[in-house]
Assembly symmetry: C2
Homo-oligomer: 244 residues x 2
Amino acid sequence: MKNYKLTISYDGSRYFGWEHQPDKDTIQGKLEAVLCRMCDEDIEVIGAGRTDAGVHAKAMVANVRMDTKFTPEEIRDYMNRYLPDDIAVQEVHEASERFHARYKATGKLYCYTCFDGEVKPVFRRKYVTVLDGRVDVDKMRRAASCLVGEHDFKSFCSNPQMKKSTVRIVDSIDIQRKKDYIYLNFHGTGFLQNMVRILVGTLLEVGYGRIAPEQLVQILDAKDRKLAGPTAPPEGLCLERVDY
Amino acid sequence: MKNYKLTISYDGSRYFGWEHQPDKDTIQGKLEAVLCRMCDEDIEVIGAGRTDAGVHAKAMVANVRMDTKFTPEEIRDYMNRYLPDDIAVQEVHEASERFHARYKATGKLYCYTCFDGEVKPVFRRKYVTVLDGRVDVDKMRRAASCLVGEHDFKSFCSNPQMKKSTVRIVDSIDIQRKKDYIYLNFHGTGFLQNMVRILVGTLLEVGYGRIAPEQLVQILDAKDRKLAGPTAPPEGLCLERVDY
């Protein structure tokens, strides 16, 4: 039995997220179906995390333990032959026996893309969130600076029954405007359920002028989901990289 | 009655081309339906050209004669509110009475995008043509240089019954590779039916090594469609600009 590290891209538009669910199209489900066909037995694909319905990934990492006579490159080509064209395996490498895509991940980079121009983008429409109006990126950056570091992000977690710690470290939040596109990059050791999208939803409220940048400190301190902004839509979000 | 110049972007993937056809989704049909709703009368949208089924445009130009109290910006916003999200009106300007999108066009720029890497692209999959193998771009450039200038392009026209002249001027063919993507830019005064796609299909044959670059001279001279390469698929083609 060997352990393989897979790097996977997907357009999450038509999927019910990463995690397999009966009778629903999911990324994990599609990957496992192809590997099950290849190996003629049930195979579990362990992802670095679970992306929500509609969220994309340029480089999700997963690991798979299986017996196969195929080389890593042959595994990649076999999978790409049978996967739908909105999922692609970029790389397959043999990994050490102890490699675990979730437990061994040390960091993740997410990018959230917004558009606030006057004419909706046609070619990137599935990968950007179209905003209701112009946002002030300087204000958003000031607000973001309050969020960087180790904090209890309970206000930014969609699961109110979360039993485990809601403390996380956000290493950096980088916000760039290029013409009508705004790119929000979040790097951290790990993120709570919907955390990136709630952070984006809150930063956009700041960008619109409805929340002052300094209020972020109180929103964090309150540990109350109701004080943060709405959960931004999934289509703008993409998992860019997983660090090990 | 005023004359308006419209600049339009569209993702042609799900359309039966530009030109309206009964009971089929076409770009012209969608535009005319929205303008008909706006003006409460039949409106004809005159395009700079007719793109084939599946072909995209970043900046198709059209003109429309109509009576409306809306400003150009209001026309644009009205149209974008009712158009599907794979068609967008970028700009609307009032034009001189004599402006005609087709007759007054002096040049067109098309870009054809190919991919010859090992893993199919996920996010750009609808806008690139995935090749069967690696192509030699230097050879393609040498072949392209034979095509630039004023020639009878009968060998590159899909309509064998073409009564009018098949002489056209191709000002430039620029071919660039960026990693696994190959961009073929064609600028000319006008193109015959399927001409860009047949040129691309032929240049790809050169890239694969099945046709020698020098043979392009004979293929042109023969004025015989059978000697040129296959018609490249529509998804890689995009109308980038129309000059006036």
